[in-house]
């Protein structure tokens, strides 16, 4: 993936496939995933606002109506509760609806259907009416959007039992996780980081990479000094921060990409923090009662005796999402991540760690 600093997020490339790879955007990979899912399963139906002729405001559904017909990729009336509510009925009849909420903040009118029905129908009916539907939500800021176009709404979904909450940060994951989501027999909130839509990775649409399923986190960058736990739009920030820390401070930061907020892959996260002894959770969403609070609590519970410092969070401020000309002050950036890393009580380790040659962790000791 091309981030601001050109950091590649692809895990070890497989040479055999290299020839078919070409720079592809996340939006293209999502489009391809929808197309492949529509082709593979006649029960898959894509619908939402402007998803047909226009191909969606982000062009993620481009060409699908033309290829599969208006019954498979359908423009609906402007009504988010109606979209989600009719998706429930279609799922009750055995279909696999994939619906688009045009923007994060415009999913809110549909919350009642999500919370009261989509998340509960399987449980209410003891499995007789599962909800194999996918709700695609473009989310997050950093695109210069005016009010209501940049929310990070993941905490609302995470707080709703019965929903899976998934968010890709790489092109390969955009494809793979969306296919996994559509194939899932549970409802999946599929959060698409808007500002990564046009980020590119080398990726093959003909031979898309296999990616781990829903519920699995991935270590994007191994390290020994501290763990950055992040997801979605904040992954490139953390990768850049890790590069900078290595370059400037001699710190080797491990970066864990959660990919799936629910189910939460505690094992991968805990294993990493137990190795490094320090952790910072990074996300755009507001910090108070945000996703990072849950992560920090779980890490503290399960890594207590391995921790050299309290688990810190770098998050959006606890404010309504700012206007575009001020959003850069709100969004966690490399400096804020590095500041948090600097506050991970390296000096205590200096004192405690009489073995002065502990290169992996000693780099920040002068801070």
């Amino acid at each position: 993936m091309s981030t601001a600093t050109g950091t590649s997020l692809q895990p070890g490339a497989q040479p055999a496939r290299e020839s078919a790879r070409k720079p592809s955007t996340m939006a293209q990979a999502l489009n391809r995933a929808l197309r492949d899912a529509l082709a593979a399963d006649p029960d898959v139906h894509v619908f939402g606002e402007d998803v047909g002729t226009l191909g969606g405001v982000f062009r993620v559904t481009d060409g699908l109506a033309a290829e599969f017909g208006e019954n498979r990729c359908t423009d609906t009336p402007l009504a988010e509760a109606g979209i989600l509510g009719t998706a429930v009925g279609m799922a009750m009849y055995g279909m696999r609806p994939v619906v688009e909420m045009q923007f994060d903040a415009f999913a809110y009118p549909g919350f009642e259907q999500l919370v009261s029905h989509i998340s509960r129908m399987r449980n209410r009916t003891r499995g007789a009416l599962p909800m194999p539907l996918t709700v695609r939500v473009p989310y997050g800021g950093g695109i210069g959007g005016v009010e209501h176009h940049s929310d990070s709404s993941e905490a609302y979904y995470m707080a709703t039992p019965g929903l899976h909450v998934v968010t890709p940060a790489t092109v390969a994951d955009a494809y793979g996780l969306l296919r996994h989501s559509i194939a899932s027999d549970d409802p999946v909130i599929f959060l698409e980081p808007k500002r990564l839509y046009w980020g590119k990775d080398d990726w093959s649409p003909e031979q898309p990479d296999e990616v781990p399923g829903i519920g699995r986190a991935v270590v994007r960058r191994p390290g020994t000094s501290a763990t950055l736990i992040t997801y979605g739009p904040s992954l490139p920030v953390c990768m850049d921060a890790a590069e900078a820390a290595a370059r400037d401070e001699g710190l080797e930061l491990e970066v864990v990409d959660l990919r799936s907020l629910v189910p939460f892959d505690e094992e991968t996260v805990v294993a990493s923090v137990r190795r490094t002894g320090r952790a910072v959770v990074v996300h755009e969403s507001t910090g108070f009662a945000g996703p990072g609070a849950e992560v920090a609590a779980r890490v503290s519970e399960r890594c207590f005796h391995h921790l050299e410092a309290p688990v810190l969070r770098v998050a959006g401020f606890d404010i309504p999402y700012p206007p575009p000309m001020l959003e850069q002050h709100h969004l966690p950036d490399v400096d804020r991540v590095l500041d948090a890393v600097a506050r991970l009580q390296w000096e205590s380790e200096w004192r405690a760690g009489e073995a002065a040659g502990d290169a992996g962790r000693a780099g920040g000791g002068d801070r």
């Binding site: 109606g82 509510g85 009750m92 009642e112 505690e266």
Partner: protein
């Protein structure tokens, strides 16, 4: 005279993008609710008899369920006493393959469709949120959040049509529910998609305490249909024959691919909103008494007797059958329900998450400890008498005690 008052006074050509979309006249409801009983209309005697039996049993069911709340056997019961004609007609208008989408007040419609009453009462008893197999019975779970079941009916009907299946959905909602956004969105989607769905609004005069006048300024609820481009029909909801005719018509019309329809059943909630409500705080006894004169059972019994299709003996037989049904229900509802606390974790997802697995283990340990101690207090905390702590069968991550 203002512009609003003299439509048609301006004869300029309309703007270029405007075209008339459809003629509203055929969509408009009648000026008065359709009545058949007592009008001398030609009616099928067998059907009247069938409806009568359902009405008598339905009334008795409502009485019995209300009694069960007083005996602590139901947590709450929103009675459809006075609305039995609409409830029964909704069930009978459907064919085997069709789907019914009831609200919390529509236990009776689900029972009239043939579901086991004890299973239908699960929600109101509180042993599970829905006690019957919705897929097998084609009765969606009783829906509590107002009007939210309506878009489900639209989606299901639409899906069936896309698959080429001969399926109609009938969705029930109250007068108050028509103010909800989901009512609007569902009707709009249904009309745009021409989905084979029938919306049945039971206008029983109240949303808990709030009368219809505070709910809407529309000429009638049936008129709302016109704005969406579907026909609205106004029916005497206490006239079981009229309800059956109009709903059957609407269902078969939808089946023929002619699109959705809205039926307003004008009826009255004779009892309080639920057993927990005090209706004397917001309505006069005289109003209730007037509606008792227009009781759906009375209307039907009078019709049958006038036609010579019912005598005292027949009426007594119908009452006895209802009594047997009520006795059976009472007896079964007085048995303790089977409670399976470990099921709480089995249907959240297709597979338990690691976190749910841990929490399930925790509850299992608590249950086992409580059982070992035999502490009544502990057992009580965990839900009462007949508690199934045999958790071995639940270790399967697929969940699913069938």
């Amino acid at each position: 005279m203002t512009v609003l008052e003299q439509s048609g006074a301006y004869h300029l050509a309309p703007p270029p993008a405007w075209r008339p979309r459809r003629d509203p006249a055929p969509l408009l409801p009648d000026r008065e609710p359709l009545r058949l009983l007592g009008t001398g209309a030609e009616l099928d005697g067998d059907l009247l008899h069938e409806l009568y039996g359902h009405l008598v049993r339905g009334r008795r069911f409502n009485e019995q369920a209300t009694a069960l709340t007083k005996q602590g056997r139901l947590a709450v019961y929103p009675s459809s006493t006075g609305q039995e004609a609409a409830e029964v007609a909704a069930a009978l208008a459907l064919r085997e393959q069709d789907w019914l989408f009831p609200s919390y007040r529509d236990t009776l419609a689900a029972v009239a469709r043939g579901l086991d009453p004890v299973a239908v009462l699960s929600l109101l008893r509180g042993d599970w949120h829905s006690g019957y197999d919705s897929r097998a019975s084609r009765v969606a779970p009783l829906s509590t959040p107002l009007a939210t079941q309506l878009p489900h009916a639209v989606g299901l009907a639409h899906a069936a049509r896309l698959k080429g299946d001969d399926v109609v959905a009938l969705a029930m909602v109250g007068d108050g529910g028509t103010s909800e956004g989901d009512f609007h969105e569902a009707l709009n989607f249904a009309a745009v998609w021409q989905a084979p769905v029938v919306f049945l609004v039971q206008n029983n005069g109240f949303a808990i305490s709030v009368p219809l006048a505070k709910q809407t300024a529309a000429p009638s609820l049936a008129h709302k249909a016109v704005g969406y481009g579907m026909p609205g029909r106004l029916v005497d909801g206490n006239d079981a024959a009229a309800m059956h005719l109009v709903l059957t018509d609407a269902v078969e019309r939808a089946r023929r691919g002619e699109g959705p329809c809205l039926v307003e059943a004008v009826t009255y909630r004779l009892e309080a909103h639920t057993n927990a409500d005090d209706a004397t705080r917001y309505r006069e006894a005289a109003e209730v008494d007037a509606w008792r004169e227009h009781d759906p059972l009375v209307l039907m019994e009078r019709e049958l007797r006038t036609r010579g299709l019912l005598d005292d003996e027949g009426a007594r037989e119908a009452r006895e059958e209802a009594e047997r049904m009520a006795g059976d229900l009472r007896e079964r509802m007085h048995q303790e329900p089977d409670l399976h606390p470990m099921d709480l974790f089995d249907h959240v997802f297709a597979h338990r998450t690691a976190q749910l697995h841990q929490q399930a283990e925790r509850l299992r340990a608590e249950l086992e400890a409580a059982e070992a101690e035999g502490t009544p207090a502990a057992a009580e905390r965990h839900g009462g008498t007949r508690l199934h702590t045999d958790t071995r069968q639940h270790t399967d991550e697929q969940g699913g005690r069938k």
